[in-house]
Amino acid sequence: MNLDELYQEVILDHYKRPRGVGLREPYEGESHQVNPTCGDEITLRVHVEGGTVADVSYENVGCSISKASASVLYELVKGASVEDSLERLGEFTELMNSKGQGEGDEETLEDAVAFAGVSKYPMRVKCALLGWMAFKDALVRAEAAVPTPGGGAEQ
């Protein structure tokens, strides 16, 4: 197998210098996700303001793939509209489920296309998706707590 394909420079860079790490206030939704096979964990918060993902903050323990993925996620969705961020989530999930066939659109996924190689390794796909699962869950919680332009009732 080709290790460089999995451990792309971009991934190692995000792993060594994670962007946006640390839990911050304010936030409307928080999610805690665990990968039971290896014990990787992430706690991720989403702050939504006027239909925009104003901040994503997180603390995690895990392997290079799961940590780099959270860092890339932060860069991609911070400042994006909720709608766009959900689109990125869909694209990234599709890329991860592509079994090595997908390449990803660099225009929209940016650094996240570096994870294309990960999709060949079924044991590592979960690692790459852990932060994104937390983001999806935290966003649902945030939407439930705060009215958004697209609808959603305040609780």
Binding site: M1, L3, L6, L12, C38, E41, G62, S64, I65, R124
Partner: protein, 422 residues
């Protein structure tokens, strides 16, 4: 370069076709036998022969195949019983795996609570205590924990010292007059520790508690004699001892099996059945509801034959050397910390470690690219991980077919890991 060994490792390796496999363009170095061992051709051949020649359900029909199948199945029971020094063949219950074996015992306690006239040794309630250790595989922790939650009994445990041994200093306090059962790990799957059993068994007997062992990592690797151990039950599994998956063993004293309420009920475990009630068969049938893993029992018997021919003393001696070599070589890797005993005394050839700044998942991935198969993760022993302040470890484990050359390949692959994540 092969260290002087009691085993002819090269000729052993010839019996394991999988060891000739390549991972990418690298030969496989299989260092994950603590998770599951590989199977020699003798085991798969025996299973195929049985399936192709004698397959039938057991203890039911009178035709030739049924009789051959029954004989093969009961023959396997006898072989396993002799292998572990059981007094009677009927003390061996075949299960699915160690987890089921331990649940079978834990549920005997739980079922006894609801059963009128149950043996008082199994009736558990508030004020009673169950003792395990902090170094259990989840298989010997969760069933007891759940039993305590359901019955109101208290779960207690023996701690671990910094060097990965059981902390027996407070043994007399942890195991006391309130203790009803002590179930502890014989050889720890994450730490590799071979636990001394006599002191714990003696203390359990002193307070009148039942005492058993999770011997999943012991029976495959060292001579185990249940009579000598003086325990009431042990659990182990086929696939870690060169046998197939899908078959495990519970050994318990005949008198205890008689007193225990059944776990799973249904076909094959009955004496007579009416619409209102059922009387049960005698052990071991009482605990083997449904069609058992017959071909797997045949495979396990072949595995027992294989190990017996090698001699368990020789297996143990070989693994002692492997453990010493592994520890010595691993300690030369920069930033590597062994989790568990660092001396090859009272430990097996299963070594967990941490590599500074690199997550075990990443370690395992790079090792795989070099053809080296190890286990990464929490090894179903999360409390042990917490005790040593890690979320996961990398674990290399050897067996009868493991060579020192494979350990060398592990060590040089670890240098490769350091390069990638420098």
């Amino acid at each position: 370069m092969e260290a002087a060994s009691k085993l002819d490792v090269e000729s052993i390796r010839a019996d394991f076709p999988i060891l000739r496999r390549k991972i990418g363009d690298k030969p496989l170095a299989y260092l994950d036998s603590a998770a599951t061992s590989q199977k020699p051709a003798q085991v798969t051949d025996a299973m195929r022969r049985f399936t192709d020649h004698s397959n039938a359900n057991i203890s039911r029909s009178v035709h030739t195949l049924a009789s051959e199948a029954t004989e093969a199945y009961e023959g396997a029971r006898a072989k396993v019983a002799d292998f572990i020094g059981a007094i009677s063949h009927d003390e061996v219950v075949f299960t699915k795996n160690s987890t089921e074996s331990i649940n079978l015992v834990a549920y005997a306690f739980q079922n006894a609570v609801a059963e009128r006239g149950a043996d008082p040794r199994f009736v558990l309630g508030p004020g009673d205590e169950v003792v395990v250790t902090e170094m259990e595989h989840h298989a010997n922790l969760v069933p007891w924990q759940q039993l305590c939650l359901r019955t109101g009994a208290t779960l207690r445990w023996i701690g671990i010292t910094d060097t990965g041994r059981l902390d027996l200093e407070h043994l007399d306090e942890v195991i006391n007059e309130r203790t009803k059962v002590v179930s502890f790990v014989h050889v720890a799957n994450l730490l590799g520790t071979v636990n001394p059993t006599s002191q714990i068994v003696a203390r359990a007997k002193e307070v009148g508690a039942l005492v058993g062992l999770d011997s999943s990592q012991a029976v495959p690797h060292l001579p185990v004699d249940v009579t000598e151990l003086g325990v009431d039950f042990i659990a182990f599994t086929g696939h870690k001892m060169l046998g197939p998956t899908g078959i495990g063993v519970l050994w318990a004293k005949a008198e205890l099996l008689d007193a225990m309420p059944p776990f799973l009920t249904g076909g094959s475990m009955i004496e007579t059945v009416t619409m209102e009630r059922t009387t049960f068969a005698k052990a071991p049938a009482k605990f083997e509801a449904g069609t058992p893993p017959v071909a797997e029992a045949v495979g396990l018997a072949a595995a027992v034959d294989y190990l017996a021919a090698l001699g368990m003393d020789n297996v143990r001696a070989h693994e002692k050397e492997l453990a010493a070599y592994m520890l010595e070589r691993l300690e030369t890797v920069d930033g590597l910390t062994v989790i568990g005993p660092r001396v090859p005394i009272g430990r097996g050839a299963t070594v967990s470690f941490e590599l500074d700044g690199v997550h075990p998942h990443d370690v395992g991935q790079v090792l795989d690219s070099e053809g080296v198969a190890v286990r990464v993760g929490h090894h179903c022993a999360k409390p042990t991980c917490v005790r040593f302040g890690v979320t996961a470890t990398t674990r290399a484990s050897g067996y009868v077919y493991t060579t020192t050359e494979e350990i060398d390949r592990l060590v040089s692959a670890l240098e490769q890991v350091r390069k990638v994540f420098a």
